[in-house]
Amino acid sequence: MSITTVSPPRRTEEPATPAARRPGALRRKITDNLTAYGFLCAALVVFALFSWYPIVRGVLLSFQQVNFVSSALFGIAWRNTLLFTGLALIVGFAVPFAVALVLNELRHLKGYFRVVVYLPVMLPPVVVAILWKWFYDPGPGLFNSILRTVGLPPLSWLNSADTSMLSLVLVATWASMGSATLIYLAALQTIPGELYEAAELDGANLWQRLRHVTIPQTRFVLLIMMLLQIVATMQVFTEPYVMTGGGPEDSTVTVLLLLYRYAFTYNDFGTASAMSLLLFIALGAFSALYLRLTRTKG
């Protein structure tokens, strides 16, 4: 089916001089689009009331209270958030890419494995967190049962300040890797097969083909995904909120969790707004970089 656009018939009136034409044209423009402006107004009012006004109020509130920066927990929360982001980049970036490489090489049951990899994305985040809490149970939990079965000592997982953050990263990675894997898989499938054939003829081994063909060919997608992942992981909240409450000993207090505590436990919206503004600035920088990169590519 094709869509044909028809130009509106040109008006036949003589063009007026610019000075005489402007008021009439403006009036006509307004009356022509009156209903559209009406509906637009409704949308604007709703957005202004429920989205823009709270943002402006949030920014104003954030300048009413500044004593939190000296708080020890503020620094700890940022350190933990950056640690989570760093670990999520190492684990959560490499694992989906590796899984995508494996899926791309599969000759059988491709669809099945793609569904299996994507399934966790469909689980609600809180369900994932509660499920993994059972996996991590230091007594009869799944992981420690496996460790005991193979003769290894059990780990404390969430119950130790040394392993709690990594445990949360594993949960977040498992829960979200499905989407990333599919995107990597799509990128991998755009690489022309001739490049691999040429590399093989040149005697390139598996690692060399990965390094000199696969990664350069997917580097733009990798970069974009990395930026998106940074933006997403810096807003980590559900996992520490449900699984550790920020503990043990503040080892999993993240910026968003601390912000939540200020806003909804201590009822201190000034501090919470100021913290969210700082997070907004940090995330804004990464988002700007993302936009710049995508625009350049476009």
């Binding site: 022509d32 009156l34 119950n159 009822n267």
Partner: protein, 458 residues
């Protein structure tokens, strides 16, 4: 554009604008001071949700009865209790109820922020105000001015599993009265095997700090003290260390607290309800929760006073009035509170209707309102007699708690309690999750944070 088209479009614009204005108007309160017939209309919260049909039926019946005896007052009930997430917004938006529910941790902050009405001039008309427990009234008082009324109270104690006590060779009628005895009992219960845990403790979501405070009070310690006009931390000392060390030893030396930590109240109740846990610190309202939510049996649970013998943490609830309420609304609101929650004349009928419906009567706390541990003197004696008369649960299982309570120093929660508890969570988490915990360092770190939280107290 022709005239009909313009009219249609103008109509469209009017319609959209009208819808917008209607939507905006929906958010505005239409309440007036005086309702129909010169009545004073007041909004009150505390109405139980429809998911609690029995409690809601009782509340609605009380509203109807009150209105029939107070013809000039129109009660407009609202669901919900204290929700810090919405409180300030509701107040600023004119949506806060005239009479609103608070936990005993709330009044200090609300008074400091001028978010509650000064009722000093009206409280003299509240019957039996002088017979309320002074410690509870003090929570709603600042600089001699009164800002609210307490309506219920709980005291922390030791909740224990009588069946497991018997199985472990312990006497369920003689529960531990010192922390050393708790430790020994926990060892015997854990020795039963089959994943039995002697003692459990919270350590997450500020609940660890709350219980650490209870422990401190029980050994005669404090979380905070007043230093002139300021509040400062008061737990980085021998008492604070004694508590932390005791918990650490139970967890790591005796191994009687289980491997899984970072527990919250639901985790511990689940363990107790499943018959896997010997003891934990709790308020009496945990007993019906164990029975109703975790399929426990009243016969299996006993309550003892806080071990340590020095003090116990008290908490509870009360009502305050909207700072924007008119004098008429304040007077009407106080009549409602005193009639429904502080009314010795309704004590027997209140207990009877709960007993008739096979609700738990005989626990040392509310509900019902008539069982609230808020009275002193003759009213307290009257209440005890009536509770025994209408008891539907084994009162003898809680007798040691009731007997021991009189000797304990009852202490309220520290100011800025939630921030203080958040800092103290770390002490609990440190000793319960780290075998090599440096207790001195944990207490010093927590002291810094608690002092920062207390510095914000107005």
């Amino acid at each position: 554009m022709n005239a009909p088209t313009l009219r249609r479009r103008s109509l469209g614009l009017l319609l959209v604008t009208g819808l917008g204005l209607t939507a905006a108007a929906c958010g505005e309160s239409t309440d007036d001071d005086a309702g129909a017939g010169g009545k004073v209309a007041i909004t009150v919260n505390g109405q139980p949700p429809k998911t609690q049909p029995f409690e809601r039926k009782i509340f609605d019946a009380d509203v109807a009865e009150f209105e029939s005896t107070h013809k000039n007052i129109d009660i407009q009930p609202r669901e919900g209790f204290m929700d810090p997430k919405t409180f300030s917004t509701k107040l600023a938006g004119g949506q806060l109820e005239d009479v609103f529910y608070v936990y005993l941790t709330d009044p200090a902050n609300l008074i400091g922020r001028k978010q509650a009405a000064d009722i000093t001039d009206y409280v003299k008309d509240v019957p039996h105000y002088d017979e309320l427990q002074p410690a509870l009234k003090e929570i709603f008082t600042r600089d001699g001015k009164v800002y609210g009324l307490p309506t219920a109270n709980y005291s922390m104690g030791l909740l224990y599993n009588r069946a497991l006590f018997t199985e472990a060779g312990l006497d369920p009628d003689s529960p531990p009265s010192t922390w050393e005895e708790v430790r020994e009992a926990a060892k015997k219960i854990t020795a039963l095997g089959n994943n039995k845990i002697g003692f459990a403790e919270y350590s997450k979501n500020n609940q660890g700090g709350w219980h650490y405070t209870s422990w401190l009070y029980s050994v005669g310690g404090n979380v905070a003290k007043q230093d002139g006009d300021k509040w400062v931390a008061d737990f980085n000392n021998a008492k604070g260390k004694e508590v932390a060390q005791h918990l650490h030893d139970m967890r790591w030396t005796d191994n009687t607290m289980g491997e899984k930590q970072l527990l919250v109240i639901e985790d511990v109740q689940r363990m107790m309800g499943a018959g896997q846990l010997g003891m934990y610190i709790a308020a009496p309202d945990n007993v019906p929760a164990l029975v109703n939510q975790f399929k426990g049996d009243y016969a299996n649970y006993g309550l003892a006073p806080m071990p340590g013998g020095n003090g116990t943490l008290i908490g509870g609830e009360g009502y305050m009035l909207n700072p924007k309420a008119t004098p008429e609304k304040i007077k009407a609101g106080l009549q409602w509170i005193s009639w429904k929650y502080l009314n010795p004349d309704r004590m027997e009928s209140d207990l009877k209707r709960y007993a008739d419906e096979k609700q738990p009567i005989g626990l040392p706390s509310a509900p019902p309102n008539a069982a609230a541990d808020i009275w002193t003197g003759s009213l307290r004696e009257q209440q005890t007699t009536l509770k025994t008369k209408y008891a539907t649960v084994p009162v003898e299982n809680y007798q040691s708690f009731v007997d021991g309570l009189a000797d304990l120093d009852k202490k309220i929660e520290p100011p800025n309690a939630q921030q203080v508890y958040a800092a103290l969570d770390n002490v609990m988490q440190g000793v319960l999750t780290n075998k090599d915990a440096n207790i001195d360092q944990l207490l010093a770190d927590a002291e810094t944070k608690v002092n920062a939280a207390l510095a914000q107290v107005k």
